[in-house]
């Protein structure tokens, strides 16, 4: 049986008294994210052609996209950050950013009943060239 008067944890505890804290003063001091860390999806409304591949392939069904209304929306709280949409996007409209969004709160719920973490874009109406192509 071990000696009850031995305190194997004591040296480390005493050392911890005089060493720097292992924790950070979050949120004033934040950690540097590593390159290639996956956090938030960024969307570029200028280049998107609303092909809807991202919405179809998203395993969490976090993306809503409509070609007719030229509408693209993402639920950040549903997004699981798997990077599938970024990989399948043919126009490079989607990218993965390394900074994560701050915590969403109920206060973000807008007057129109917008959900926290919901972000949406409305693209410009298709230009004449596109309209011509679709007519032909």
């Amino acid at each position: 049986m071990a000696n009850p008067f031995r305190l194997p944890m004591a040296p480390r505890t005493i050392r911890n008294l005089f060493s720097r804290p292992a924790t950070r003063r979050y949120p004033t001091e934040t950690r540097q994210r590593f390159d290639g860390a996956r956090a938030t999806i960024k969307f570029d409304v200028e280049t998107c052609v609303y092909c809807m591949i991202c919405a179809r392939r998203c395993p969490a069904a976090a993306i809503t996209c409509s070609r007719d209304e030229r509408y693209w929306a993402i639920e950040h709280l549903t997004c699981i950050g798997c990077n599938v949409c970024v990989e399948v996007c043919n126009k490079n409209s989607l990218s993965m950013s390394t900074d994560s969004k701050s915590v969403h709160t109920r206060a973000e719920v807008g007057p129109e009943g917008q959900r926290p973490g919901h972000e949406e874009w409305h693209g410009a109406a298709p230009g004449p060239a596109v309209a011509k192509a679709s007519a032909g």
Binding site: M1, A2, N3, P4, R6, L7, P8, M9, R12, T13, A22, R33, F34, G36, A37, R38, R57, C58, P59, A60, I80, G81, C82, N83, V84
Partner: protein
């Protein structure tokens, strides 16, 4: 004697996950324990019918936050065996390197939780501080701390450069030294011994009879480990499972501590033996739809996991099922809880390393 029923869970201070045990007591002794599960059932098996098989791997990873890498890996291995995909060598080595690192992560997490359960919060924080280093390695190499999403059918998404592999090994060595000091506390602290030694003894015959798996069985002296089958390149490594014979709570702690050291050693061997060089292929393009059925086994931190996949030639799988190690260890847990003191119940339940999210999927 009059019997009392005390519910253990679904919210309990030592166990962050929801499981209910109705403990039937006579005085302070537990005479029967009736488990109830199903609090976090997420319907994964129904989900395969509407998520394409290529994306399902990312959902499967989310079965559990601790062994997430191996869930993704097991799913991909199952699909690869159905579709006869030849995975590049480097990808296979990278997978098992990540798998062993995630084993270290899981055991450190559990050792911390175990320390917390028997009231040693100081030790809990030291274990989790070490785990943080592992999470940094994961974030740097895969992009995610907990959910890595790096496995894909046909290989892996990201490569680790050779210089970074050397850095990882050096970091693990450093971690191993820090871990040895913490392991000494687990091994020699009197209060830990008094709390765990001789508590919840599972003899070898009983462990075989209830089909215990993983560290639970190995702590009782049963030589069972899926890595012994030599699948996934483990035949090229010097590997002998960690065995203890006492079968009590302390033995289960010791097995996991020794497995942390063993995993660090395995990562050393893997980095030495894997093919080196820049630009080696890490992925095979997969074409077509899977058809057929298969099952795959893997050794997760908690024990053997089995994946069953049935595909019917469409982009949606017909059936997917995972039998997780905790599910296999629940009978052993019930057996141990019977006849023990009420005060020992949390410790015994925690030493099987229960993962209820895995069990209920």
């Amino acid at each position: 004697m009059k019997r009392t029923v005390i519910p253990f869970g679904p919210q309990h201070p030592v166990l962050p996950e929801p499981i209910v045990l109705d403990l039937i007591l006579e005085d302070e002794k537990v005479v029967e324990a009736i488990p109830t599960i199903g609090y976090i059932h997420r319907g994964l098996e129904a989900m395969v019918e509407r998520v394409e098989y290529t994306e399902m791997g990312f959902v499967v990873e989310r079965i559990c936050g601790i062994c997430s890498f191996m869930h993704g890996m097991g799913y991909c291995l199952a699909l690869e065996s159905i579709m006869n995909v030849e995975v590049p060598d480097r990808a296979r080595w990278l997978r098992i390197i990540w798998a062993e690192i995630s084993r270290i992560q899981s055991h450190l997490l559990w050792l911390g939780l175990g320390a917390d359960a028997f009231g040693f919060e100081n030790l809990f924080m030291h274990c989790w501080r070490m785990r943080e280093e592992i999470l940094d390695i994961f974030e740097k190499t895969t992009g995610g701390r907990i959910i890595h999403s790096v496995n894909r059918i046909g290989g892996v998404k990201r490569d680790i450069s050779d210089s970074e592999l050397v850095a990882i090994v050096a970091k693990l060595d450093e971690l191993g030294k820090a871990f040895d000091k913490t392991a000494k506390v687990f091994a020699s602290d009197a209060s830990i011994r008094h709390r765990l030694s001789g508590v919840g003894v599972l003899p070898m015959e009983d462990a075989r009879a209830v089909d215990a798996v993983g560290p639970m069985a190995r702590a009782s002296g049963v030589r069972i480990d899926t890595r012994l089958t030599g699948q996934n390149l483990y035949d090229q490594l010097e590997f002998e499972p960690v065995l203890e014979t006492a079968g009590d709570c302390l033995a289960r702690v010791v097995v996991r501590m020794r497995e942390v050291r063993q995993s660090i050693d395995l990562v050393h061997q893997m980095v030495e033996k894997m093919p080196k060089g820049e630009g080696l292929p890490i992925e095979t393009k997969v074409r077509g739809m899977p058809s057929g059925e298969t099952f795959t086994r893997l050794e997760q931190p908690r024990g053997e996991v089995v994946y069953y996949v049935k595909a019917n030639g469409t982009k949606y799988l017909e059936r997917f099922r995972a039998r997780t190690p905790t599910f296999a260890n629940v009978p052993a847990m019930i057996k141990l809880v019977k006849g023990c003191d009420l005060a020992d119940v949390p410790n015994i339940i925690l030493t099987i390393d229960p993962c209820i999210s895995c069990t209920e999927r």
